[in-house]
């Protein structure tokens, strides 16, 4: 999973701050390769190194960057693949939220050896959900925040999402659904093109 994420991070930094900025980030992180391969395995330590280096080089708060990466994954990724794959989760935003628990299993259908963290969704009150995940890097909650906000826009839903202060190896977010059809959202054809 870190491969997919680091590749997205590379795309985000390269397209937002330019290729030389990315080269500086890699140099500062002490990584020899020019970039990351989405399908190769990397560990949490590499992720932390790159995040810390980017925060220094780009002078940006890590949490804000991670949220931007989440938005980038859904809205600016040139392949548009993640947005489409996530939209298969359901016809409405609440259905999409329910499908998140299946996300690791869906990911494994395509990449059998992917190490994707388990996600748990609980409905605490009508229209109020809590999404939790056991992850080595709880800051990933901010990536989820970016992804979920962008997906809510895509569905045309109005939501308020809060990240809970990171616990030990646990990421948690609260999602309050204000309006499921706030805007028309983006259209989605089941078959691309």
């Amino acid at each position: 999973m870190y491969g997919l994420f680091l590749r997205a991070f590379q795309g985000y930094v390269g397209s937002t701050f330019g290729a030389p900025a990315w080269t500086q980030v890699m140099a500062r992180a002490g990584i020899m390769a020019p970039g990351f391969e989405p399908l190769l395995p990397y560990d949490a330590l590499t992720f932390r190194k790159v995040l810390a280096a980017a925060a220094k080089v780009l002078e940006r708060a890590p949490d804000a960057m991670l949220e931007d990466v989440g938005t980038y994954i859904v809205t600016r990724n040139p392949a548009a693949a993640p947005r489409r794959l996530l939209r298969f989760g359901g016809a409405t935003f609440p259905e999409f939220l329910l499908s998140l628990e299946e996300l690791p299993d869906r990911a494994r259908l395509a990449l059998p050896d992917i190490d994707f963290p388990r996600l748990t969704l609980a409905e605490r009150a009508p229209g109020e959900y809590r999404l939790t995940s056991r992850v080595e890097v709880p800051e990933l909650a901010h990536v989820l925040l970016g992804v979920l906000s962008a997906m809510a826009d895509d569905y045309g839903a109005l939501v308020v999402i809060e990240v809970e202060p990171p616990g030990r190896a646990r990421a948690a977010l609260t999602i309050r659904l204000a309006e499921t059809s706030f805007s028309a959202g983006q259209s989605f054809n089941l078959v691309a093109g």
């Binding site: 391969e37 989405p38 399908l39 190769l40 392949a79 693949a81 489409r84 794959l85 298969f88 359901g90 016809a91 869906r106 259908l109 395509a110 990449l111 989605f188 054809n189 089941l190 078959v191 691309a192 093109g193």
Partner: protein, 356 residues
């Protein structure tokens, strides 16, 4: 309205009734057929296939070619295959989409009232969804179509990534190979590349000429003007060799001031001598280094290998070495062809492989 009942042991279920809206939700691609196989009712997703034409009242067999596995052309045939998997193909012209393959299952309704048939897109699901612009809500909530479409797309994404990864790795491999075979200072091939090129020509029995070039007075330039001057001279020589030799030939720097040019094909002695002299002439042109002039010369030993000899590469190199040595001994700035060396001091012979 359809009456659905199981055939045997149906006493309990016999009274079960579903209104058409409920049936449409459970099976958006169902057909209720009359005892003769005419459409009485159709599910909403199936109706999408015939959105412009009439559907109710038409015969199943006019809409679809039905097989199971033999061709089924009437209601009696359908009854005989009740409960078995049927293959259907949309008839051309019956719908506004190209012929799609579908699969189905028909069960008789209680009291001989006809059939309830459920259809699905089989392997043609992806084109069908695209052509009909189907969405999540066109399928029953229990249907696996969404998972299938998701998987098809996820698969394509992963394959795209795999292809991109292999292209990047291939690019890196080519670059590494190129670097492994190149002399970084002059950009000529290196000894490894030269050996490999020579071995290939020998193995394949191709005719070729090999020029062995050694600079005269290069050490003086290095000692008096410094290494930067020496490097500039070497680059100058590389330029001379590139200008003299064709693109398909192999030009390599094989030592400090030693070069090899391998020319595939059969070139005559006169041409090879002229080529050697052209190289010496070029090498002698002075090079300006920091306001001073550096000049060297070159000696050239030439050997030729005829077609189909397939010699051992080391013999070819030994012979060109001997010719080069003879050129140096004869007073430098000379071209010596191994074939023309004096009988008194013949070069080591080149033998066909296996005869040495």
């Amino acid at each position: 309205m359809a009456r659905a009942a199981a055939g045997t042991g149906a006493r309990r279920a016999a009274g079960m009734q579903l209104d058409s809206a409920a049936l449409a939700r459970l099976m958006p691609m169902h057909l209720v057929l009359s005892p003769t196989g005419r459409v009485r009712q159709a599910g909403p997703t199936l109706r999408r296939l015939f959105s412009r034409g009439r559907l109710v009242g038409r015969s199943l067999f006019a809409l679809f070619e039905v097989r199971g596995p033999n061709r089924i052309g009437n209601a009696a045939g359908l009854a005989a295959k009740a409960g078995q998997k049927l293959h259907l193909m949309l008839r051309g012209g019956a719908a506004e989409v190209p012929p799609l393959r579908m699969r189905g299952l028909a069960m008789p309704l209680a009291g001989g009232e006809g059939f309830l048939m459920n259809l699905s897109f089989g392997i043609d699901i992806v084109p069908a969804v695209g052509l009909l612009q189907l969405t999540d809500t066109d399928f029953a909530a229990t249907d696996m179509t969404m998972e299938l479409l998701y998987l098809a797309e996820a698969n394509a994404v992963v394959m795209g990534e795999v292809r991109a990864l292999s292209e990047r790795l291939d690019g890196a491999r080519l670059q590494a190979e190129e670097e492994a075979l190149t002399d970084p200072l002059t950009g000529l091939r290196n000894r490894r590349a030269c050996d490999s090129f020579l071995s290939r020509l020998c193995r394949e029995g191709q005719p070729f000429a090999l020029l062995h070039i050694d600079l005269d007075r290069f050490k003086e330039v290095n000692d008096t003007l410094g290494h930067a001057a020496g490097d500039k001279v070497l680059k100058h020589i590389a330029g001379v060799l590139r200008g003299a030799v064709a693109a398909g030939d192999c030009i390599a720097r094989v030592g400090g001031d030693e070069f090899v040019a391998i020319l595939p094909g059969s070139a005559g002695s006169a041409r090879l001598r002229a080529l050697g002299e052209e190289i010496i002439g070029g090498a002698q042109r002075p090079v300006r280094v920091q306001g001073r002039s550096a000049s060297v010369s070159a000696s050239v030993g030439v050997t030729t290998v005829p077609a189909n000899l397939r010699p051992d590469p080391s013999q070819v190199l030994a012979q060109s070495d001997a010719a080069l040595y003879a050129a140096k001994a004869a007073g430098r700035s000379r071209v010596v062809l191994a074939d023309e060396m004096a009988a008194a001091a013949p070069p080591p012979p080149i033998l066909a492989r296996g005869t040495s």
